[in-house]
Amino acid sequence: MALWIVLAAVALVVLWGIWAYNRLVSLRNQVANGWRQIDVQLKRRYDLIPNLVNAVRGYMKYEQETLERVIQARNQAVAARSVGEAAQREAELAGVLGRLFALMENYPELKANQNVLQLQEELTSTENKIAFARQFYNDVATKYNIARETFPSNLIAKLFGFQAAELFAVADEREREAPQVSLGW
């Protein structure tokens, strides 16, 4: 009888271990997936920025400096390696892009240009997608980290060496609103 109880207890622990391990793996995959989603949108933004800059260059003759800064910030962001560095470069890029969008408000001819409008919409949307992808990434990464660190699933996490997921810690809200700054100029 005692043997059976011990066997049942062991079986329960093993079953729980399998469940906890699978949950951690599935969460880790979600985190990786969320990361890829951000990457997809970032690449899209890197492609769109030169197009927009070229489309508005002819109109914005006196803003060459801002345009150069945008291109420069873009190139720096492309070159970034770690999550932390990428987040910082991205924040800078979003800042100068917000400036560019704000300056574009001063050029009524730009608003009549269908091509520019289209590019601006695509870029605004991509900005949003990056922010929302980050929001989602941070949500799943937090969920994963909690599962990794709380008892008892942390035992399984330690046993199989699950690494912590890095979070985006940039002032997210300010960055999200950057493209919409059109007042005050």
Binding site: Q30, E121, T124, F132, F136, V140
Partner: protein, 309 residues
Amino acid sequence: MNIWEQQARNRRNTVLLVLLFLVMAAAVGYGADYLFFDGQALLLTPVAAAIAIVQALVGYFTGDKIALALSRAYPVTGRTFAERQLINVTEEMAIAAGIPMPKLYIVPDPDPNAFATGRSPRHASVAVTEGLLQRLTRDELQAVVAHEIGHIRNYDIRLMTMVAILLGTVLVLSDFVRRALFYGVNRRRRDEGGAVLLVLWLVLAILAPIAAYLIAMAVSRQREYYADATSAELTRNPEALIRALQKIAAAVAPTTTIPQSLAHMCIEDPRGRAINERTGFWSELFATHPPLHKRIEALRKMAYLTVAS
């Protein structure tokens, strides 16, 4: 209640709804057997049950297509700027919610409205009216799409689409019962047991559509609050949804292109009925949507909270 509990509850309610529907159909079949064959042969019972099962399967797998066809929705191509923008805000919200991109449709109607349909996040569609695209700003459109994405993520669409399809069948069945009674009673002698059964049958025939309707209403009202909350959670911008709801409500013309049977699926009642705006027992019972001022009040509270934190 968190999202997993909401999803689980919706799945359970869908199963309950279908079971209730099958039982009702079988009861109608059994009553017909009694009326026409004196209960000697069970012929119409399996027929009714089979029809009901087929109907439920059709509703489950093609309910979204039926709902879209009924409202004459056409797929979005992205050729115009407005359509491009709709695709963009939907992609944004799908990313924020972590679900696949739903299919997009436009309903040719100048009145602003929107609904979502389908059976799961992988098989989901969002339809908006032309009027909605014309009247709303980008932020407001995003908030409305986020509301619909909320319905998709919570599996509201599965339950609401099934309600729409099965409600139609219940109406047809109860109509059949009334006709059968009209002819059947003339044919049969009225023995006591039979009379009791017939009365029960009649009550069922009258009450079934009302019960089905009440389920549809109750199902819909609660969910609007949840979907509003999801919209605020995804966009972090409840004010945009408040403005959008006000614009949708201010457009007085009813959304005629969307049929009444789909009213409970829309973001605002396409019939523009006054009953939704009142509070109290009867309007609570029959309205498909909570009063707008209550929805806005709830959203204002969320806006205050996001500002405070």
